[in-house]
């Protein structure tokens, strides 16, 4: 039986003097993100086309809480900063790296939980007004788009939490140091999706 490939397996592009190596996990994460772009892109384009077809859904869209959405956007952008700082700390590998990693990852997780908590409050406000997924096509799209995004945020929080727990063990810090880049790619992608969802759902 062949040995499983190590985490340092690379994929080579080019030939001769122009060979460029990309770590296989990084390529795999980008391939996964590509499939996620298809999922969200398909939903978003359907929303846009049907919104134009139905005259803009201005009356329905007037009930969304854009201030809450703006606050959540700020929360998610700041979580991207803390995730980027965690990845930068891991890359630099300076003294105290493990402590900084846990601090920045911890903040990322807290901000992610804040996003989900605010989203839950927003949903409850809308449910109280009778604006459920069955209230119309706009609301069906609203809950599908934001709900699917929230599930992705939750998955990111779980992923980051496993890294945060692992970083508490000295023997696992090098593993976290290698893998946090891939968790960072996923988390930033989740942020990019919200960067487009917020104006699409709340500001138009």
């Amino acid at each position: 039986m062949e040995a499983a490939p190590s985490i340092e397996t690379v994929v080579q592009f080019g030939d001769g003097d122009s060979i460029r190596e990309v770590p296989a996990p990084r390529l795999a994460v980008w391939l996964f993100l590509t499939s996620e772009i298809m999922v969200f892109g398909g939903l978003i384009s359907c929303f846009i086309l049907l919104r134009i077809a139905h005259g803009g859904w201005d009356a329905e869209a007037a009930h969304v809480h854009w201030r809450i959405g703006a606050f959540n956007t700020l929360v998610l952008l700041t979580s991207s900063l803390t995730m980027a700082l965690a990845c930068t700390s891991a890359k630099e590998g300076k003294e105290g790296m493990a402590r900084r990693l846990r601090t920045y990852l911890g903040f990322t997780i807290l901000l992610g939980l804040t996003f989900l908590g605010v989203k839950a409050c927003e949903y409850s406000l809308e449910f109280a007004k009778g604006l459920t997924p069955g209230a119309g096509l706009f609301w069906a799209f609203y809950y599908t788009l934001t709900g699917l995004h929230s599930l992705h945020v939750l998955a990111g929080i779980i992923l980051n939490s496993t890294l945060w727990i692992a970083a508490a063990r000295a023997d696992l810090v090098p593993v976290v140091q290698r893998r946090i880049e891939y968790a960072g790619l996923y988390w930033h992608f989740v942020d990019v999706v919200w960067i487009f969802l917020f104006p699409l759902v709340y500001l138009t």
């Binding site: 990309v22 384009s45 049907l50 700041t78 900063l81 980027a84 960072g184 104006p199």
Partner: protein, 96 residues
């Protein structure tokens, strides 16, 4: 200017990018509340969103430093989705 940005590495660069992202968010919100034509407002808001997304992808996800094939990998689904939407728009969005 180039010397200044060359010194921005690591955490300082990450924070600078965040400042730009928050600034673009504020601009988008200001455009939203201003009494300007809706089409103009939507265009400006989405332009700000595109700039924010490009900043995150290039600087936080480091796509700018990757092999060009990874860039093609990331852009291909966007092109496919946009093409599909444009192709379907006469039958769905602008159906008489």
């Amino acid at each position: 200017m180039q010397e200044k940005s060359a010194h921005l590495v690591g955490a300082a660069l990450d924070i600078r990018i965040w400042e730009w992202l928050v600034g673009l968010l504020i601009i988008g919100l200001m455009v939203f509340v201003m009494p300007i034509p809706k089409v103009v407002a939507i265009g400006l808001v989405f332009a700000a969103a595109v700039v924010k997304a490009v900043l995150v992808v290039r600087k936080y996800m480091h796509l700018a430093a990757e092999h060009w094939l990874l860039c093609v990998l990331a852009i291909t689904p966007v092109v496919l989705i946009a093409g599909m939407a444009i192709a379907l728009s006469p039958d769905i969005a602008f159906r008489q």
